[in-house]
Subunit: 383 residues, 2 copies
DNA sequence: CATGTCGATGAAAGCGCATTCACATTAGGG
DNA sequence: CCCTAATGTGAATGCGCTTTCATCGACATG
């Protein structure tokens, strides 16, 4: 309707863009078109398919655009073309605003940092940018409004957004769940999933302790109330124990409320003070707690791995740097982000809709000093 | 022109949205409006200003939206309201796609990770989401198209996008330069800047070595060809030397091509093998090289800090974990991201346009074992 | 010379929403 | 019970772009 060149009779004189040019506003295709003596269609073509425009014309347009400081509006472009060229990621808000500066949650953040890195890299390869948002204080409503409405598809880290909400959104655009298991009832969960082999990883690690080191009395230490990750890892632990004929309780020996180093240290003390024989190995559900335990054990004068073996899970950088270096299960977090993007891109590339995908990424056991597999040099070997 | 209810005569019957509903397309305000028996204006109001809609009406609309899986289009919203609610960050592409999995560039990436974290956190506080993009292979053109056109304002890490281009864009929307000095000719640089006090930090650190530890023969090791950061740090080094009457060459003792640990190790070897007295202290322009040097010195049987002092710059987590822990200058990278967002938000909040701002964030010297200020416990104290 | 072909350009329409009026409805005041 | 003032809702318009579709030349072909 711009300029109302056809038969319609309207109120305003169609001076909109003439008016806009007078104030110092953001230049649009109209300004560039006028300045270079072409139509807006040609300006658009210069950006969308440069080869379809004669070279001389193209130069004129680009010159005008440059003089005006013209940048195409992503909103308008997205609206007209029905796609944004942006993928999204929603992750939980680890950083409590009160603890700014505390480096305590560093490891937890590393998790999302790595996923961000992987997604950004893969998205870029496919020509997408990445929009990130931690879960907002304003509740999931705003999260969805902020992200879901602005992207062609997005990934969500587990337990960031309610499942029902994701279901509704995923009816209309691709959504990938990161590090969260598929819902029990598959009819309620049509998302794609990318997980790591928590159970298999813990199984392998446990098997190594039992089989290669001959350990029999193992204590598993979990965290959180109902973390699916911890549950899966514990299942792997039990499976390995069962296969080797080692007795293992039906529940973790300890279940700490949080996944911090402090809690790990506390867990180590509790296990040492319990009546009966001290376990030969402390199997922790993550690295942070295991590191805390290393410190607590050192303080008690217990040597790792000679007096007690300690293992972790995640493979955070710190796990390699502590002394003794921590035997753990390495999670491919960067790759997780990359796989998520690949899934999204596949869904977006006009393939016929398929069944929901569940990717289970393999993990690797890092056998290091804390189980007795390596010497303990004084200086970390880095890089 | 939708439905063409006014006097215009047009070709199509305005069936657009009826048609769309039949295919399984993304629902729009029109679908929600129809389903809940209101106009699209009311649907819009339900999201933009819920209080202006009667409660009963609001519930009807929300119910319809939920049934349809409606998510407001960020593009349309942005186009109509002339803002996106998104801030951007462009950072250099550290990750060479060939070295995926190599953890060598970890520390360099940590730098951008932390800035991302800071920006995301601050952006969220102000109700913005964050769009991130590393510099694209397709050249800066696509970077700008991807980011600049989609955000209300953005930050750029130094040497990611050519200055002229930033100048053009910044005429129309706020742009903040991160960790890059203002151009020599201020008339060519109207960006806001956020920097860290590189010079002062290196000055303080050097002063500490000279003044508190009585060192006189210091060797400065830089990297890169023309890194402004390294230059600033070296200026601080020289200033401290000059004030203390310690002789310092006009140029760094060594200037390695890259900022890696391997180069740091090589630098340490070169300095040890040079003719003449070995310097008492190796002052590195970043932590990674310093860590590499620690390893090389250990291999040569030289004790740090007893035989030679080593210092770094940046305060990466690794600096605290190596043995001996590295004396270094801590950069407030998270805060840098936060300050950048604050600057952007301030410019966006309709303030009268002001002069370009240059923020110089203070740094802190971390005095640790590698200069002789701390004991060296076997196990890193973490958290 | 008429005709067909192809490349370059312009005209027009619409993407999904916010927003401005105008209008309808209801509540308050006399 | 009428008039005015809120209050709630609808019609219409444009945000800046992409994308047909039509047009217009410039040529090559018969």
């Amino acid at each position: 309707m711009r300029f109302h060149r056809h038969a319609c009779i309207t109120r305003d004189g169609g001076l909109t863009h003439e008016r806009r040019r007078i104030v110092n506003a953001i230049p649009t295709v109209y300004d560039v078109a006028e300045r270079s003596g072409v139509s807006i269609a040609t300006v658009s073509r210069v950006y969308r398919s440069p080869d379809s425009v004669r070279a001389a014309t193209r130069e004129r347009v680009l010159a005008a655009a440059s003089e005006l400081g013209y940048v195409p509006s992503g909103n308008a472009r997205g609206l007209a073309s029905r796609s944004t060229g942006v993928l999204g990621l929603c992750f939980p808000d680890y950083s409590d605003p009160d603890t700014v500066g505390a480096e305590d949650d560093d490891a937890a953040m590393l998790y999302s940092d790595q996923i961000i890195r992987g997604m950004e890299r893969a998205a870029r390869r496919h020509g997408y940018a990445l929009l990130i948002a931690a879960s907002l204080a304003g509740g999931p409503e705003s999260l969805v409004a902020q992200v879901a409405g602005r992207v062609d598809g997005f990934a969500v880290m587990a337990r960031t957004v309610p499942t029902e909400e994701l279901e509704a959104i995923s009816r209309r655009r691709p959504v990938v769940m990161l590090a969260g298991p598929r819902a029990q009832d598959p009819s309620l969960d049509h998302l794609d999933h990318v997980e790591v082999a928590n159970e298999d990883g813990q199984y392998e690690l446990t098997r190594h302790l039992v089989h290669d080191h001959g350990l029999r009395r193992l204590a598993y230490v979990g965290f959180g109330e109902d973390s699916p990750d911890v549950e899966a890892r514990f299942r792997g632990f039990r499976r390995a124990c069962a296969e080797a004929g080692v007795e293992a309780a039906a529940a973790p020996a300890l279940r700490m409320p949080m996944m911090t180093q402090a809690e790990g240290a506390r867990a180590a003390r509790l296990l040492c003070e319990r009546s009966g024989d001290r376990p030969e190995a402390f199997v922790f559900a993550n690295d942070q707690m295991a590191v805390g335990a290393l410190q607590a054990l050192e303080r008690r004068g217990l040597r790792v791995p000679d007096d007690v073996v300690v293992t972790g899970f995640d493979g955070i950088p710190l796990s390699r740097l502590v002394r003794p270096a921590l035997t753990t299960v390495r999670q491919p977090m960067v790759r997780m982000g990359e796989e998520a993007v690949d899934l999204l891109v596949r869904r977006l590339s006009g393939q016929p809709p398929q069944e929901p995908v569940s990717l289970m990424l393999p993990v690797g056991v890092a056998r290091r000093a804390s189980c007795g597999c390596e010497e303990t040099p004084v200086l970390p070997t880095v890089g």
